[in-house]
Amino acid sequence: MNVRQPKPPTRSPGKKKVPAPKTRILVCESTACASSKSAEIRAALEGAVVRLGLVDRVEVGFTGCHGFCQKGPIVVVEPDGVFYCQVKPGDANEIAESHLAGGEPVKRLFYRHPVTKEAVPLYKDIVFYKNQQRLILRNCGAVNPEKIEDYEDRGGYRGLEKAVTSMTPEQVVEEVKRSGLRGRGGAGFPTWYKWDVCRRQPGDEKYVICNANESAPGAFSDRSLLEADPHTVIEGLAILGYAVGASRGFIYCRAEYSLAAKRAQTAVDHAYGKKYLGKKVLGSNFCFDIEVFQGGGTFVSGEETALLSSLEGSRSMPRSRPPFPATKGLWGKPTIIDNIKTLACVPSIISRGGDWFASIGTAKSPGTAVFSLTGKIANSGIVEVPMGTRLSTLIYEIGGGIPNKKSLKAVQTGGPSGGFLPGGKIEMPLDFDSLQEAGSIMGSSGIMVMDEDTCMVDSARSFLSFTQSESCGKCVACRVGTRHMVGLLEKIASGKAAEEDLDKLERLGHIVRNSSLCGLGQTAPIPVLTALKYFRSEFIAHVVDKRCPAAVCRELVTFRIIPDRCTGCQMCVKVCPTKAISGPRSQAHNLDQSKCIKCRSCYEVCKFDAVAGEAIIIVS
């Protein structure tokens, strides 16, 4: 398996000269790391480098997301590939003095294996990265997203150059066909087919759109990709424009992702400067413009026809298909909308050939898949693995397993409208068809891991209320149906439901699925339906026994203080909003059940801050 290298091993002979072996210290400045003050870290490092007189030897730079956001802020020292995690601005001096000046890496900040606690100094040895094969994310964390030269040094824009100078649009489509690339937006539709349909349309007014409206909770790979490596996306979009004969492209970015949009805009400006965009791209007759468009922040805008409405300045509501956008899209003109991850595959397919791409992954789903691994897992972050990788590899090897000695209960793939898979299905290969067979979807890239403390009723309700609130309201089944389903789930969660409500829920789910226009409505009931299919006993427990096995559903649990464990530190007394807990210092406290509103404040403060800890339990 390919190990992700911190630097490209070889560089094909180009116009660029090999830079002098200079130590580069790179700070991750994506949204997640920036929230942990990575800009301050970089400023502190820059200051320290100047103070220590290392300016000639050391270059302080920044990169986009490494994908391991949980361990952020991340600082990488190259060319050795030393990986520091959870760095604080105060650590900058130590890194500069000990590592950059003295050559002695700071052991304290190394990544530690979640189980063995062994320090891992090098980027490439970390299990999280070791088992990945990065193709879509190949430049993430390795290039400065605001420097086009970094991207060019890693073979950037070669694909576009090859396409516009030596290939016809037919050949480009043919190459993509040979690669077997399928849409990474979730549905897995063959990419070349759409392209070919659009290419054959008459007229020269066509549009291409990169769909980066990632609003699915639990998925953040599009943000990370656009923040870390916007040029790959631009190159992919330009190649697509060339293949179908469009002269105008859009990057539709979600409203909330302001940094991603900013980076994309900067990258577009740089690409214009280098003649990769604009009139007569790279001296050919191909003219192409890209505009970064920020949407309104709705989930439904990710649906292709809804995205078009939003781009046209209207409410983003889906239209019925056919006609498909490839024949009648933006302003009634042929339009191709591809997911950002699909487009990120395209430059490598063109420069390295479709056969190379087809050799990765499985026969029916070639290439790699990007997942955002979140939930109850030791290493959460963005991972990229070949299609067909087993779910267990993803969870136990790359993800490092379930923390706190808990056991795996369910895995949800495909974001809020994906299905729950029980622990028994974990050996399943991850590709479009296997997931569909198991009743789930590839969907958005989210993979949410749930441990035994997760209640399936509560999770299903939470996912469904998300899709319910994001429903655009066009189809009755989706607008009204999901609302009733949420109502039923709330009834179950509060222990007021009867057994026939489960059948009602299931029937309603099928109705919503079968009679909605777009993907949102068609997939919204999947979490509920799969939860009912694989975890019916848990629903029965809520309905018949009136208890929540995972002790989550508020109406069915009580909070208790274990007198033997309580040291009487008064932390819980202080945080209780209703003064339900009382007791003098140093004596076991009392919890008045009639006053308790089950807000979990005491539970959390006891778990994290209190002297004894874990003296408060939740039982059902």
Partner: protein, 156 residues
Amino acid sequence: MAVLMPDAVQQKIRERRKSLLPLLKKVQETEGFLSRETVRLISRKLRVTENEIYGVATFYPQFRFQPPGKHHIQVCLGNACHVGGAPNFMEAMKIEKNLGHGGTTPDRKLSLEGVGCLGCCAMAPVIVVNNEIYGRMNRVTFMRLVESLDSPEKPS
């Protein structure tokens, strides 16, 4: 009818309409919300009726029609944050500050908004205050943060 319109004219109308969302966004960034006056102004400029603009703007959750508080608190309610206990933050604000989604305190100091996933799931649960992200919160640290915002401010 529209078919007979010259391409250039049609193009101009489209572009005008397309600029609606970016314009609304820009206004909200600079003014903090969409006031009736600005909507009227945009309506005149873009030749789109005010009704239509409200129709579009209310569809998207990002647009506000009331000025936000001095400290605008956004609670991520994405699934990773939900599992991490984000709904508790909303509830805590309701109990302690009597502030619900979209609400602002009478002194205009705090405003609260529950938002969709912010894409920082690895740091869940996440809070955003005036565009600054705080990760790995719990109810206690959250309320401490809120209290620090609400406390009488040092003259700066």
